[in-house]
C-alpha cells in the first residue's frame, strides 16, 4: 500500500504561482489524456458502426458533430444560449450566491440570537433541499414579470433559473464563511479587542482578510459543483447546451449519433471543470496550515 495521496503526482515540487493561475507542474494532464482518448475511441467506434450500416446518404459522425458544435457552444444565431449560457449562468449564480452567502454566514455569528437562529435555519433549509426541487420552486412560483414603480421588468426563464441555482450555493457559502471565521483563533479577537477595535473593525480588518485565503479552495469547489448543476436548467426549459444537444439529436434522427453527441457534451464540461478542480487542489495544498 503506497502512501500516495489521491490526485498527487509522485514527486510534486512546490511551484511558485504565476500570474496565469496554475503552473504546468500542478496540472497533470493524465486524466485529461485518458478521458480525451476515450472520447476519440467512442467517436471512432460510432464512426465505424455508422459506416457499416450507412445507406450512403448520411454524413460522417465527425462531420455532423463539427456541424453542430457552434450551436451547442454558443446557441442559435442572434440568441444567447448553449454552453456559453451555462457558463454565464454559473458566473451570475455564483456572484449572487456568494454575496448572499457571506451575509447569511455573518448572520450565523451575529450577536443577536434571533438573527443567529434565523440564519441557521435558512442555511440548513437550503443546504438540505434537492437542487432540482429548489429550481422548480423558483421557476414555478415566481412571476414572469414584475411591476415596479410603473415599470414592467421581465424575468426571463434563464434569470429565474440562475436565481434558483444560487439558493443552494448561498447556503453552502454561508457554511464556508461560518467555518472559516470559526477557524481563526479566539486570541485574535481578544487582541483586537484589547487594541480597542470595534467588533465591525475586527471582523472586516482582521478576521475576514485571513478568511479569504481559507475560503478560496472550498469556494472554487462549489463553483465547480454549481457549473456541473447548470444542465439542470434544461429541465425547466432554458436553451442551454443540454437542450441544444438534444435538439440537434432530434433534428438528426440518428441512433449512431447518440453516444458521440452526449460524449461531446460530457467532454465540454470535463474540459472546463477539470482544470478548476486541479487548481483548487493546488491552492488547497498551498494554503494548507502546516502542522
Amino acid at each position: 500500500m503506497s502512501p500516495q495521496r489521491p490526485q498527487a503526482t509522485p514527486s510534486m515540487p512546490a511551484p511558485a504561482m504565476g500570474e496565469s493561475g496554475y503552473s504546468a507542474a500542478t496540472f497533470t494532464p493524465r486524466a485529461l489524456v485518458i478521458v480525451f482518448g476515450a472520447f476519440l475511441l467512442l467517436v471512432a467506434g460510432s464512426e465505424a458502426y455508422a459506416q457499416m450500416r450507412t445507406t450512403g446518404t448520411d454524413k460522417s459522425i465527425v462531420e455532423t458533430l463539427i456541424r453542430w458544435t457552434p450551436l451547442i457552444l454558443f446557441g442559435p444565431a442572434g440568441e444567447f444560449g448553449g454552453f456559453a449560457l451555462n457558463i454565464a449562468v454559473s458566473f451570475l449564480a455564483m456572484a449572487i450566491g456568494t454575496v448572499a452567502g457571506v451575509v447569511l454566514g455573518l448572520g450565523q455569528i451575529s450577536l443577536s440570537p434571533a438573527v443567529r437562529r434565523l440564519s441557521w435555519a435558512v442555511t440548513q433549509f437550503f443546504r438540505n433541499s434537492p437542487w432540482l426541487v429548489l429550481l422548480f420552486f423558483v421557476m414555478l412560483l415566481t412571476p414572469f414579470q414584475i411591476k415596479l414603480l410603473g415599470f414592467t421588468i421581465p424575468l426571463p426563464a434563464w434569470l429565474k433559473a440562475t436565481f434558483g441555482l444560487s439558493l443552494p450555493v448561498m447556503a453552502n457559502i454561508a457554511e464556508i464563511v461560518r467555518g472559516s471565521i470559526n477557524s481563526i483563533p479566539t486570541s485574535q479577537w481578544e487582541s483586537a479587542e484589547s487594541l480597542a477595535f470595534t467588533r465591525t473593525q475586527t471582523l472586516w480588518r482582521i478576521i475576514l482578510p485571513q478568511c479569504v485565503k481559507r475560503m478560496t479552495p472550498p469556494w472554487m469547489n462549489w463553483y465547480a459543483i454549481l457549473t456541473m448543476a447548470t444542465p439542470l436548467i434544461s429541465i425547466v426549459g432554458v436553451n442551454d447546451a443540454m437542450t441544444l444537444a438534444q435538439d440537434a439529436l432530434a433534428a438528426e434522427q440518428r441512433t449512431d449519433l447518440l453516444m458521440p453527441m452526449y460524449g461531446l457534451l460530457l467532454l465540454f464540461f470535463f474540459l472546463y471543470c477539470y482544470p478548476i478542480a486541479r487548481w483548487t487542489l493546488y491552492l488547497e495544498r498551498k494554503y494548507a496550515v502546516k502542522g
Binding site: N128, F137, S234, L265, Y274
Partner: protein
Amino acid sequence: MEFLWDALRQLHDTAGINLVHFYDSFERGRLLRGMWTTLQLAALCVVLSVVIGILGAWLQGSRLGVLKWVVQAYIQFFRNTPPLVQMYFFYFALGPQMPRIINEYGIAQPMLGSFEWAVISLAFFAGAFNIEIFRSGIEAVQRSTVEAADSLGMSRYQIYRHVVLPLAVRVCLPSLNNNLVNLIKTTTQAYAIAVPETLFVASQIWSDRINVFEMMVTLLTFYLIIVGIFVWAMTRVERAIAVPGFGR
C-alpha cells in the same frame, strides 16, 4: 384517518389550501408510490456507491500502474462532469445499445428500464466521490498499524479487510455521510429520465390539480425528513463504532 382527510377537504373548501394529494385516495396512492420509489432508489444507490467506493479504493492501492490510472480517470471523469448529462448518457445513449428482452406480454423491451439506469448512473457518480473519501480514510490509518499487521503474516487482502478498512471507515464516516446525503438529494434528477420518483409524481399531481405551492412544500418537507432521518441514523452509527482514544 377518514376524519383527517375530511378535515383537509374542509381546509381546501374554506381556506383554499389545496392538499388534494393527501385527502384524495388516488393522488395519495401515487404520491406514496413515488415516495417508495425514491426510498428504493436512494437505498440502492447508497449501497452500490459504497461498494464502488470500497472496491475502487482497494484497486487504487494496487501495484498495477495501469489499474491505478483507470481508477483515477474514472474518478476524475465522474467528478468533473454534470451528473445529469451522465444520466442522459447512460439512459439515452447507452440504453438503446443494450440487448432487448421479451416481456410477459410478448413485447420486446430494453433490458434495463429508467429506474435501473438511474441507479447505475447515480451509483457511479457518487461512487467516484466515495473512492476519494475512502482513500483519504485509508491514508489516515497509521503506517505502523499496517506494518504490524504485515509482520503478523497477514496477506494484503486480510490487512485491507480486517485492519485498514475498519479503521478507515471510522475516520471517513463524516465526509461519507455528506456525500451520501448529497446522493439522496441527487436522486431527484431521475425525474429527467421519467423514473416515477417523488419529484416526478409531484409534478404530475401539481399539473393535474393545480396546487403547485402546497405540493412543493410537501415535497421539500419530504426530502428534509428523509435527509434528517438519514443524518440521525448515521450519527448514531458514527457514535456506536467510534474508536476510543481518538478526538475528544
